[in-house]
Symmetry: D2
Subunit: 349 residues, 4 copies
């Protein structure tokens, strides 16, 4: 009953088989192999972007950091939501790779407010040489709070950025879950709306550890490769990284797994009606939800073996068994309807 994160789940059998199959004999290192060429092609097809720069890394943090480093100058500001992975959970990696500074934007449910973004860009521009310059904007879909940006909402934010001549990056650690939630294509959520760069996540959604950095500007390819190497992220036995992405991006496996995870979360939310005192904190759109449950309910579930995060900023030290505590629940592709029912049952006691 581990619902702590989608990265607590296993890899999909088809991904594992691809890694096994990649282990046949010798292959030239550093990405000069057929599997890597095939994986790159599969991602380009998936994004309907035959010219795009596509390179693979093993973590989402570095995918974001490298993409942003290719878009930002060392004296720029990067506009990110206050509640975002680049700000809260990457220990300064985006700043380390780019030299730039994050400028935090507010907005409901981890979604940037276009007016707030516009105001922040104008404020930065107004500082002249004294402050960091307006640089790229980075969005996350689905967001850190499990909500989703609609295509119109993304378009509105891109419009603000483009009005100021700024590039836009999309942190797609849960890209597939967003496409599944919006029932849109990868191209439809990105370059067709004006997005310049994407961290296309595989790790959280059924891979062992692989993310694709996608830059729709083909001219950025060499810079991306060199920044990746300088960061120590160029795999020598590259085929094992590529094989995961090749399987993931082929025959819609990426979308199939995301749909499954989203469906489980939908069932969990519906089932909450049977859990006394359960309240949904943000409108969940994909495979992640934040819930308020009475302390006693959490204790009961934990005692039954459930594992998930209770947010540390909550006042966990009151003795009141009815005091609501906020938790984060994440479903991965492998969760079954029975798993969901088991968690609900543990909460109901």
């Amino acid at each position: 009953m581990i619902f702590a994160s989608d990265n607590a789940g296993p890899a999909h059998p088809r991904v594992m088989e691809a890694v096994m199959a990649a282990n046949a004999g010798h292959a030239m290192p550093y990405g000069n192999d057929d599997i890597t060429r095939a994986a790159r092609a599969a991602v380009r097809d998936l994004f309907e972007a035959p010219e795009a720069t596509v390179e693979f890394v093993a973590t989402g943090s570095v995918a974001n950091a490298l993409a942003l480093a290719c878009l930002a100058r060392p004296f720029d500001g990067i506009f990110a939501h206050r509640v975002s992975h680049v700000e809260e959970d990457e220990c300064g990696a985006p700043e380390f790779y780019s030299g730039a500074k994050l400028i935090l934007i507010d907005g409901q449910d981890a979604r940037m407010d276009p007016e707030a973004l516009d105001a922040a860009i104008r404020e930065a521009a107004g500082r002249g040489v004294h402050g960091v310059q307006p640089g790229p904007v980075t969005l996350t879909n689905i967001t850190e709070l499990g909500t989703v940006y609609t295509l119109d909402e993304i378009a509105a934010l891109v419009a603000v950025a483009k009005r100021h001549g700024l590039a836009v990056h999309l942190d797609g650690a849960r890209f597939a879950n967003a496409c599944a939630a919006l029932d849109c294509t990868a191209a439809g959520m990105t370059w067709k709306l004006g997005i310049d760069a994407v961290s296309f996540g595989g790790t959280k959604n059924g891979c062992l550890g692989v993310e694709a950095v996608v830059l729709f500007d083909p001219a950025k390819g060499r810079e991306l490769e060199l920044r990746r190497k300088r960061g120590g992220h160029l795999f020598s036995k590259h085929r094992y990284l590529s094989a995961q992405m090749a399987a993931y991006a082929t025959d819609g496996l990426w979308l199939e797994m995301a749909r499954a995870a989203n469906a489980r979360m939908k069932a969990l939310i519906e089932g909450l009606s049977t859990v006394p005192g359960a309240v949904v904190a943000h409108p969940p759109a994909g495979n992640m939800a934040f819930l308020d449950l009475p302390r006693a309910v959490h204790q009961r579930a934990m005692a039954a073996g459930a594992k998930y995060y209770i947010r540390s900023e909550d006042p966990v030290d009151t003795g009141d068994p009815d005091a609501p505590l906020r938790c984060r629940i994440v479903c991965d592709w492998s969760k079954t309807p029975e798993d969901i029912e088991a968690l609900l049952a543990a909460w109901r006691g």
Copy 2:
């Protein structure tokens, strides 16, 4: 017939099985899992260092960069051989992570000369505040030219460093091949000689992609973890990284594979007596050798399907079929006596 590098070889079946086995069900992410704890313990046992800081990453470049960043200050110089991976093949990663500057030391066959090291340290110290300060020394065993430092040679260099109060790092991308060549233990080649930090390589020797950063000072653990995270190198699904190292460090698999690779190279060198005009360039000690062969011999082997690197700095543009060209040949654990004979046959024509 790919002899371009040991990282062109496959992973060992026992390593692959460990990765498969790790894929059962859910596990807490970021290294908070049993497999990671077991892998850490296995490496500490291997080094007879129960207190050592041990963390895992996926590439040798970042293992070196993180280890050196934990030993060097941003205004230090790092003493490395002119012919070393940190200088030639990491695109500035050690400088990126540490902020420090490499100071290059000469010495025969990629082995640092103790007098040259001592002179360089004294010269740096003599610059006062104007130059970078004497910082850590980094050695590689086996070296970039396939030669080996004996234990006495390592001890002599460590003595120079310690006399000046400097730490010593060992780049062990081919650590196992060195232990096999010297018939010594991991502890005997490192902390028992005064080595402070090791990049313990698994990737080139039968793993998919895993290296252990080993710092014998237990107090360095937190800094290493944070620098790894800031570099985007903390794996979320950490079990797949750890499973490789657990298998590699258990029951002597690491040494078994290295012995096999070294034995193949030994056979290749012996077989050279049958190849007209073949000359060994540096005394090969492990699984890598540099050979001078007539251009015509290379052309014949390439035509027969052999793949290996001919060093670009050689004058490859003369038309003379007898002109010797230097090549690098590397054997990995999976090479068979038949593979060796096949390459020799291709050279003989």
Copy 3:
């Protein structure tokens, strides 16, 4: 009638004379001269800190950046008020020198709220390895909004920092104006309250361009020197930098000039009763004030030759002559009662 900033003012005659006097004959470079030794001693006397590390630089931005780089690790967060020079007006210099990340704290009138600081430190600590670690706290006195922290308010913030084991830095770009406002000693506002490092400003207060970085930990001296050199801030003809500070820190010139500047501002604030529609935005304590004045009043003063900043974030584009616009007025040591009366007259029209 330039009231744009105290750095728009001239240097004090005694400072200029010291620079002239320093120009006699030859002197050893890089601070190995008698004037530098004397200046260091004068600053140590001023702070009653005979052992303190004291080095000189030419700008306040680098004084802050170097002091913070000596206190913060590259994976730390630096706690600063949202309205502070390090955040708004140094183009990322503190991050560039330290590698650390700023974490912004709220609080009335540019003064950090102790509860908000404590909450931010606890939140950072709660992120574990995923976020930057709690690092130094940096305060500014007098603040960016012209207000002052009382000694008790500083003590309360230092208490929060120390409870979490964190160092505290004081940005003293207007240090003298704060001492004059609080009628306290340099020691009384710093190390006696637990402050670890100070940027002791001279530039804004009657020097040509000199700041002292003061670290009360004598062991930090070498690191500070090396970071300064690496940043390109070690002056070769150091005597000209030191001569300014020697004059500034001697016979209370620093305090004499600050008192004069504060007195002028006090007179200006009192005189506002004669300016229809003038409103003071934040309680001014030193030589800087933020005022709301009707647009027409500003236009009248500008027409009469007054120069000062009207904050860009204000809605300057409404046509309404009575619309209040916020301006910043700063007095330097050289302003006379007549200068103040002239500005008031220009506003009155």
Copy 4:
């Protein structure tokens, strides 16, 4: 009798007068003042480059670091002579500002050998993504060993760089001394030969502390300003920095002082015929020379009050009074024929 460095000398009266004159009343800060505009214009006239980007800083180290940071990418190599200020005496500042790595080139008397430069560029290019990429070339005239590059020698090195598409920077810490030695114009030694960027030194040649960063590409201006600010090098009371450069670059003062310093050195070299055992180590072209003198001769001069550097790498510990020790002698603009005669006399004893 201080001959340790030209930065041990005083500022020229006309420079001091300009600084005094700049101290009249108030002026807008950060370079928005008439004196700065005039100084910029004077430097552009001096270089016959009306469109050039010209900004001022206070040290030569940061002038080099900023110029190189505007020419190099973080994954580039910067080609510099092994015996150069950027390599030996800037504590890693060029790497800190640019993120790039220095690649050292050999050549007689601190002058790069064109073949060695070409070979190093080709070697770097041959490493592909594994090594840093070929980046800018930086030359120094007059060199760190007091020799001079002729215009033809500069042209030959620029030709190599341009053939590979690389930019060229000139470290002109002693730019004026080189122009005086070659009897050429500033334009003739720089952009007319293809030089892209210059650190135009004033500090060592009669100023208090000012250098001009000159980028002949006008489009680089904004980047230079922002990198300077981020490094903490934007002076608020900018007029005092600019006033020095305005005086220095006007009416040929820069050249007048350099000619005087060079003439003194010429006289000193000629006078050496009267000093038994004196040997000139490198052909001195400007105001700096390296000499071998018997230990006893040095001791005699030191006893008589002479101050200059004896290079630490020399074997200073032999007791032999006749053992030659290498010293560096530098003349600044203020040295008189009597000063030269006094030093020679001290050596003669």
